[in-house]
Symmetry: C2
Subunit: 454 residues, 2 copies
């Protein structure tokens, strides 16, 4: 087979696994019709106008077999004040999903099940332009409208392939844990290039971040992201704002892999095996590093709040360990019931003394102050002269990373708010081979860590 034929054969095999059969489509259509009827009945009882629309991938045929999300938006006139919107919106939503539960993004909405589908019922404003939106959910109907007009069934099939590829390589999802490609971004990229294959070819060969698209040529803002796709419905928004440099590079890497040697495993990789405690210990021993882990009860917030706080805290701890000379090699953060800030260090221990440079001797007043401060300090070596300055070697505050992490000084680094309160409450510190314990809860994450791949 030629490369092109191999690619087509793999794409066909993947389509077979992800495309919806007529049965699934029919069940979906029936479910949506039933939900819509409930919504319209509830709207009829209200003293205001409203309509209901289906949005998202299931609305435009870009959903993948196995995904079972139906998103219904109930649109109210923009004159309605916010409290009324919320109260009428919830009334309709609860009528649609009597067993559903309320959640809160920017508006409250209701999430529940209907005939085996996961359904979100979300109130929003009906606006003339996406730039008038009052919250992120108000934007969704504009996306649906834009894509409905452009995505034919063939292109929808290409989008499904691209989505599955991104899932396979771990770059799909605009949640703040993944920081990957959103569904809408995937759709816009396929619209831009015309097919899945053209998209991966461009990513493999042509992308030199920053990569920039502006399908409607209407951008009114500058964006400082590796991938910029200006929202066709909003000139001030980069659809790819959340996409990390790693995920852009990851797509480029695996696009080249796929084109060089097309294979289904890239779309459906084998599940990661979890490392055992003993295996983690073996890795630590053979790497000769000093990993340290700060473990605490995971703060009870949604992932989109949790991960940014964990990353901020990890950076704070990492930078402070670096400043104190323990030379971080690599870091990670894990969360489940516990949360973990994991920093692998190159340096296990620093001496009891540290160099402390004083002013140049010729800056008389400062120099004399420095000299007198340390001249009678029995714990300090010096002052002596190096170059034109006084220098002392004085007692170091923390000789090991663990001593620092176990002290209150950890609370002085820049931590996420909920992480800070969790640490104030309680935490433990694991050092060296002790981090093997983490395999009980985070075995798969530790496989990713100790067998890192693009």
């Amino acid at each position: 087979m030629t490369g092109e034929q191999e690619f087509e054969a793999v794409a066909a095999a993947v389509r077979e696994r992800i495309d919806l059969d007529e049965d699934e489509r029919e069940r979906m259509r029936e479910a949506v019709a039933g939900l819509r009827e409930r919504a319209e009945e509830a709207i009829a009882e209200l003293p205001v106008e409203a309509d209901v629309i289906q949005v998202g991938s299931t609305a435009r045929g870009t959903w993948i077999s196995g995904d079972r999300d139906i998103d219904l938006f109930v649109r109210f006139p923009p004159e309605l004040d916010r409290e009324e919107l919320e109260s009428y919106g919830l009334e309709v939503s609860h009528a649609v999903l009597p067993d559903g539960r309320e959640e809160f993004a920017e508006h409250p909405y209701v999430t529940g099940e209907y005939d085996g589908f996961d359904v979100d019922c979300v109130p929003c404003y009906r606006l003339d332009s996406a730039t008038d939106i009052q919250s992120a959910v108000d934007r969704t109907p504009f996306h649906t409208e834009y894509l409905d007009a452009r995505l034919d069934p063939d292109l929808a099939g290409e989008v499904r392939l691209f989505k599955q590829f991104l899932k396979g390589i771990g770059a799909y999802g605009s949640d703040l844990r993944t920081r990957g490609f959103s569904g809408y971004l995937t759709e816009l990229l396929v619209l831009e290039y015309g097919s899945f294959e053209a998209t991966v070819e461009a990513a493999a060969d042509d992308w030199h971040p920053p990569v920039r698209f502006d399908p409607e040529d209407h951008a009114t803002a500058e964006f400082d992201d590796p991938l910029v796709v200006v929202d066709p419905t909003d000139p001030e928004r980069n659809v790819a704002a959340v996409c990390s440099p790693e995920n852009v590079a990851r797509l480029q890497h695996y696009a080249r892999e796929l084109l060089a040697e097309p294979r289904e495993e890239l779309f459906f990789p084998d599940p990661q095996e979890a490392l055992s405690t003993a295996e983690v210990r073996d890795h630590v021993a053979s790497r000769g590093t000093t990993p340290v882990a700060v473990r605490f009860d995971a703060p009870d917030v949604v992932e989109d709040q949790l991960y940014p706080q964990l990353r901020k805290s990890l950076a704070g701890v990492r930078d402070e360990l670096d400043r104190r000379g323990f030379d971080p090699l690599r870091t990670a953060t894990f969360a489940d019931d516990s949360a973990v800030l994991f920093v692998e260090l190159e340096v296990a221990e620093r001496p009891a003394v540290e160099r402390h440079e004083g002013p140049p001797v010729h800056v008389r007043q400062h120099a004399t102050g420095f000299y007198e401060k340390y001249a009678d300090d029995p714990a300090a070596y010096g002052p002596f002269i190096d170059g034109d300055r006084y220098v002392v070697e004085r007692e170091r505050e923390f000789e090991t990373a663990a001593a620092f992490l176990e002290s209150d000084a950890i609370l002085d680094v820049a931590l996420g708010l909920r992480v800070e309160s969790a640490l104030e409450d309680d935490y433990d510190v694991l050092v060296g081979e002790e981090v093997g314990e983490l395999a009980d809860e985070f075995g798969e994450e530790l496989t990713d860590y100790f067998d890192p791949r693009p």
Copy 2:
């Protein structure tokens, strides 16, 4: 007593110990007369004109009691070619010092003893201007001439005080081990300020390096030194070129000490006690550092060649240990029968792996080359993606400083020529408390190191 009176009392006590009594002066005059007579007799036998002059501190009363150096220069016409100068010069010098031995600076000269004095007899050219000189020794008669006209007996006494002070604080001597203040520099500074006290007052209060004097206001060159004193006999030369920033700062520090609390000990400090092996080990243990020492047979060259080579080699080793992550805290070099490059490290050991950053993934050709190089390397972790780059953690070459120092890789750093051949021949490496052994040969130097003062 007032501060001024205290200062005067200390100066008087020091003068008492360093000034020459009439007996010493008389013995010196007789010795010089005897030597001069021998020289003139030998000159009379030569087919060329020549004269003999006394130069240096004993010629102008700035010598300190106990110093016993007489410097005689035999001056020949500048038309003489160099070979003749050397041959006639040595003929006269050997006649002056029949038991003397030949040494070699830029010309050959003869050094020997006469009536208890150490005598150098040095041939040189008699020139009209110091800028015409062919070697450094030709300059000396010009210095003598310049100072003879300006240093009266009172000023000579001030110079002697200043010299003894510089000796006491360890900053006297323009040899390349000390890199301090030369006799000539000392004389010019006292001429500039008019007294010892005015000189130390200026150093204490007014010096903000670079400090610059040009007594004849005739400099024709720029100098990049902390202290610049343009030679009154040579506009292209900084008399203080060899003086290190440390010694300039040291003078400033001790000048302040002397003025704040005048005391004789600054001029005549107690001799340093040598550290024992056990004491060195105690210091190492309490500092928690990892000292390493490379010890080898001291190359058989004069100190003015040895120390620059040792320092260059020390810097080379230090920088390479720094580059390899062992974080040097402080360094020293010692020489006697052995020579030692001593580097005290903050980091004893690095992990088995080291981070190695590849190119950005989007730079396709380089990126693919990097990825393929490491993808099948079982010793490498990764490649994985960090930011927009491939990264691997690969095997580190040396996990300890000792492993590096004991390998041939030490010969790849920038070493002094004679140090390099010494290391090619043989050396040993001491690590941690093993450096205690060095106390047998370098106990006093180790006191300076572990009890460092300005």
